[in-house]
Point group: C2
Chain length 204, copies 2
């Protein structure tokens, strides 16, 4: 076993997960703005884009037929059906990014993160959470992106997902109005993981 | 298992170790100056104080007879003979500090850190190292605290100790002129450890 004295320690595969509405996107955006250099994995999905979403930036928006083909050909690292829509991570994208030596960051729902844990045990799993379930519910309601039925389903799902924190390595609380603290936590976790004597070498 | 959502996560027992001359004291001093609040464990020793050392600050300087009594009465968490001199950690001090809820930081030589690993597996072990063995040798020579014979022994010991990094959790490189980076690493490790889903609860 080779200790990672050298600055060229192997890149990490980092999963930022947690219930909907917890602020995954905001945390990842601030990580970028703070100058942390990483490859952000873009998920493929067959759901329609929301008004503010851009293809190839927020998601790869593909047809259900194209998604099924990728799944059949083993091109997806992980795939799941969430709220009746397909989501999956193109494997080749992750492989190439790691080979280039940079850390790879994925934003995944809790179900997706659990799949990655099974498939890539060396991944660093971070569970982003709100300070309480009530706060999470308020955030989801405020977002105003869902129909009342969708909202009810999201809240029920979020409640179940909050219980799954035990499947993760780290838990970061994104408190109302304290986004920078949550970002500090995530960046500290990544920095610390790079100091591990036994690095988590990802093999895909 | 209770996830550590709450800010009152259990305190950590942190060991800062590494070969002589690697900058353990400087790193710990800067951690304090940066505002990280912790209890610094003071080691008991029967060696005579160096000119700049203060009893109760740098070490508890005790007689060999007093040291033997503490050892006999099981009052030491860890004790060792280094360069023919006794060193040990008063157990009660660590217990009280942890009970008060603050992290406890110990500066230990490599032999002492290995003992703590066995006695307190939940401790967070950080190995501080120089960027190369030659740099470490230069630092030891420059320190000018030792006789030529002592210096030769220290250098030989340091060489052996560099191999023991694999017994630690984390390795932090204290590069010449880049002390703040090493301090950033150590503080990130501590912050990350406080975000672990399964906290390392120390029992003494």
């Amino acid at each position: 076993m080779k200790p990672n004295y050298e600055p060229n320690a192997p890149p990490l595969l980092i999963v930022i997960s947690g219930p909907a509405g917890v602020g995954k996107d905001s945390v990842i955006q601030r990580m970028q703005e703070r100058g942390y250099r990483f490859h952000f994995v873009i998920t493929a999905t067959d759901r329609p884009p929301r008004p503010n979403e851009v293809d190839g930036v927020d998601y790869f928006f593909v047809t259900t037929e194209e998604f099924d083909r990728m799944e059949r050909d083993g091109e997806l690292l992980e795939h799941a059906i969430v709220y009746g829509q397909h989501k999956g991570i193109p494997k080749q994208q992750v492989r190439e990014a790691l080979a280039s030596g940079v850390d790879v960051v994925m934003r995944l729902d809790v179900q997706g993160a659990a799949s990655v844990r099974r498939l890539v045990p060396e991944a660093v799993l971070i569970f982003l959470t709100a300070s309480s379930f009530d706060e999470l519910r308020r955030r989801l309601e405020r977002r105003g992106e869902d129909t009342p039925a969708q909202l009810r389903e999201r809240i029920a799902t979020a409640r179940q997902e909050m219980e799954r924190v035990t499947e993760f390595d780290y838990v970061v609380v994104n408190r109302e109005g304290q986004l920078e603290q949550a970002v500090d936590d995530v960046l500290a976790i990544i920095r610390a993981e790079h100091c591990r004597v036994e690095p988590r070498v990802v093999r895909l």
